[in-house]
């Protein structure tokens, strides 16, 4: 579905992605884990077309999207749930969702709108309850649901999520990961960037570890959970202390 080869990207003189190759197959949950500043968000932003790729290929469903503007990438079926949710706080929940269906308008498929809303409300009943409320008045968890719902309104085949658990209470984080799992069960494909590596690897099929703009490990989520480097660096296990006991 998504195939990336030797991607390079950055900001101004700063090279953030040095050489990234990865792929996502249909129906998979793939997670990218890594420390702050490793290049996770840059990677998602480059795939989304928010940042232009400097070199390499991004192929989505057989089409090269590396130099495509963001709106065209969304139109092809690849949506981003951005870091920090970024809902339009002075608009209502429903208006936020309708904005997510902007591509349906472009396709002259606005009659699909009620069905899209129904689907999102089915997934997140709380959004239906707060339909007329301003997005800025929602709790963090609700805003995250709204951000996911907004992305789903574009009927994407690939949903990319940037740190959906960030800043949320542990119980809410659990809900968010349950939603990701449910999205996959309903046939969606998910590319998930997370600092909460343990939770992400538990729901993912495969994972990549990114460090200073390069992939240093890849494999099944199960193998990555068993990898000592991953445990030490990203799962917060102090192996030295454990061996002493």
């Amino acid at each position: 579905m998504l195939k990336i080869r030797n991607l390079e990207a950055g900001y101004g003189k700063l090279k953030v992605l040095r050489r990234v190759s990865m792929h996502v197959a249909p129906g998979e949950i793939v997670t990218i884990i890594g420390a702050n500043g490793a290049g996770k968000t840059t990677l998602l932003n480059t795939i989304s077309g928010l940042i232009r790729a400097r070199a390499g290929e991004i192929v989505f469903d057989g089409k090269e999207v590396g130099r495509m503007p963001a709106e065209k990438v969304v139109l092809l079926g690849c949506s981003l749930v951005p870091e920090g949710r970024q809902v339009f706080s002075s608009m209502t929940v429903k208006e936020n969702l309708i904005l997510g269906a902007y591509v349906q308008y472009r396709r002259n498929k606005k009659d699909l709108l009620p069905a899209g809303l129904a689907k999102v409300y089915g997934l997140f009943p709380v959004l239906k309850d707060r339909e007329r409320q301003l997005a800025g008045t929602l709790s963090g968890g609700e805003q995250q649901m709204l951000a996911i719902g907004r992305a789903l309104m574009g009927e994407p085949r690939l949903i990319m999520m940037d740190e959906p658990s960030m800043g949320l209470a542990p119980l809410i984080v659990k809900d968010i990961f349950a939603i990701v799992r449910r999205l996959r069960e309903e046939g969606n494909t998910v590319l998930l960037v997370e600092q909460n590596a343990k939770a992400a690897l538990r729901i993912a099929d495969r994972g990549y570890v990114i460090e200073t703009g390069r992939i240093i490990l890849q494999g099944t989520a199960e193998d990555m959970l068993a990898n000592k480097d991953v445990q030490r660096a990203y799962l917060g296990r102090d192996l030295d202390a454990e061996t002493m006991v």
Binding site: R19, H23, R214, D223, A226, L239
Partner: protein, 432 residues
């Protein structure tokens, strides 16, 4: 039957993407964690970020057995020792041993890859497998053992040696699959015949043989004598051990586990890639090893890749059975000669046994080769004339196969030392 159908029948372009991802991650890791590779790449001015395709691997330097020896014992490990759960050492057939390590994930991968090879060879969980490879530092025994357990077969870890006991256990335990070197399989077959036991009193169905080069003629002989389906498999401890490649029941080349190993075939003299399908030295880069990754390891094994698809449905490319070793390659009177060529000729000649030895010496400035061949008993009682005829026939056939004349000496059956492990086929007495 496949063990990991998705990986074994993956489309070519999907696998190439996977290989590239894994190659790049491996290069990033060795550059970070193995000073040997970092220094070598840096001193050659190689930036691993410039490796952007599978073919780009040709920009990287080779790793040789000597590099492994120079970094004895742990110098090339890419993880700290506390993450290593197993240590093996190469069998050291030719020289000092080299040490390799495995993480928990490596052992899991290894078991799965051996399970693939066993499954491809026809083995299932219902089989009783007698593993007559040496257990210990040699990777053969343990490697196959873990793979056999992985598929759920019943494993008899008998290890090598004590042929009479092997045969008794094979009979009593109703062994259905034998795993050892091909030369040892032949020794077992001959011993069974000598003991006068009918092969039909055994339950053997399959044999998986490896760890040394053997010929198609030898396969035929083993299959006929033991009444089994005999498949070839390939591996080497420096890269992982058994599980690198193995034949399916088509018995027409060994499927390489390409999602875990990137292979190249090079001309051992020019070090350039040979044309597709041509014979050369196999070079392997590991794509998933954690503890002991190797980059462009020169195996010294001679083979060629078979690009045509296999009827079994696996998309994993095949390699021809190993034709010899570059260091077994004898340069006689300037001509490259492989023991396997000689073996091939002998198998086709009536009256000879599949046991032989090649003795190379120097007379004056000239290389002199004598092939000692065991003959079946009756011929020694026959008249001299028949013996001479046989010698002439072997000489003629060898000359046409090798392109040089060699001496032939007939010896009595069993006068050449038998091996329970790897057979020693060449004795080079030349002092240059």
């Amino acid at each position: 039957m496949y063990w990991e159908p998705e990986n074994e029948t993956m489309k070519r372009d999907e696998r190439e993407q996977l290989q590239l991802e894994r190659l790049e991650a491996t290069l990033n890791r060795v550059h970070m964690n193995v000073p040997f590779y970092r220094k070598k790449f840096d001193s050659l001015g190689i930036d691993t970020d410039d490796i952007r395709s599978l073919d780009d691997i040709r920009k990287l330097p080779f790793t040789t057995k000597n590099d492994l020896r120079d970094n004895y014992p742990y110098g090339l490990f890419a993880v700290p020792l506390r993450e290593v759960v197993r240590i093996h050492a190469s069998s050291g057939t030719t020289g000092m041993s080299t040490v390799v390590g495995y993480t928990k994930n490596d052992i899991k991968t290894w078991s799965n890859l051996v399970a693939r090879i066993l499954t491809a060879a026809g083995i299932t969980k219902d089989d009783v497998i007698q593993i007559a490879f040496g257990y210990g530092l040699f990777t053969g025994g343990f490697g196959l053992h873990y793979g056999a357990e992985r598929i759920g077969a019943s494993v008899i870890p008998i290890s090598s040696g004590n042929t009479a006991r092997q045969i008794k256990i094979m009979q009593d335990f109703r062994t259905t699959a034998l795993i050892c070197t091909p030369s040892y399989a032949l020794l077992i077959a001959d011993t069974i015949a000598e003991m006068g036991i009918g092969i039909n009193s055994f339950s053997l169905k399959y044999g998986l043989f490896g760890a040394e080069p053997w010929s198609e003629a030898m396969r035929k002989e083993i299959q006929d004598k033991l009444k089994i389906v005999a498949t070839d498999n390939y591996g080497l401890s420096e890269v992982m051990g058994p599980g690198v490649a193995g034949e399916c029941t088509e018995r027409n080349g060994l499927h390489i586990n390409e999602d875990h190993f990137l292979v190249e075939v090079i001309n051992p003299e020019t070090l350039e890639a040979v044309a597709p399908g041509e014979v050369g030295e196999l070079v392997i880069t590991t794509l998933t090893k954690e503890a002991f990754p190797v980059i462009r390891f020169r195996t010294r094994d001679l083979t060629r890749l078979i690009p045509e698809p296999c009827p079994c449905g696996r998309t994993l490319r095949r390699m021809h059975r190993v034709m010899g070793r570059t260091d077994d390659m004898l340069i006689i009177k300037g001509v490259n000669v492989f023991p396997s060529q000689i073996e091939h000729v002998l198998f086709d000649i009536e009256g000879t046994e599949p046991h032989y030895q090649i003795i190379v010496d120097r007379k004056g400035a000239m290389d002199d080769v004598t092939v000692k061949v065991e003959v079946s008993e009756p011929i020694f009682f026959d008249e001299m004339k028949k013996q001479n005829e046989l010698v002439d026939l072997i000489k003629r056939r060898l000359a046409s196969e090798l392109g040089i004349g060699v001496g032939v000496k007939l010896v009595e059956k069993k006068s050449i030392e038998r091996s329970e492990g790897k057979a020693k086929r060449v004795i080079d007495l030349r002092k240059i």
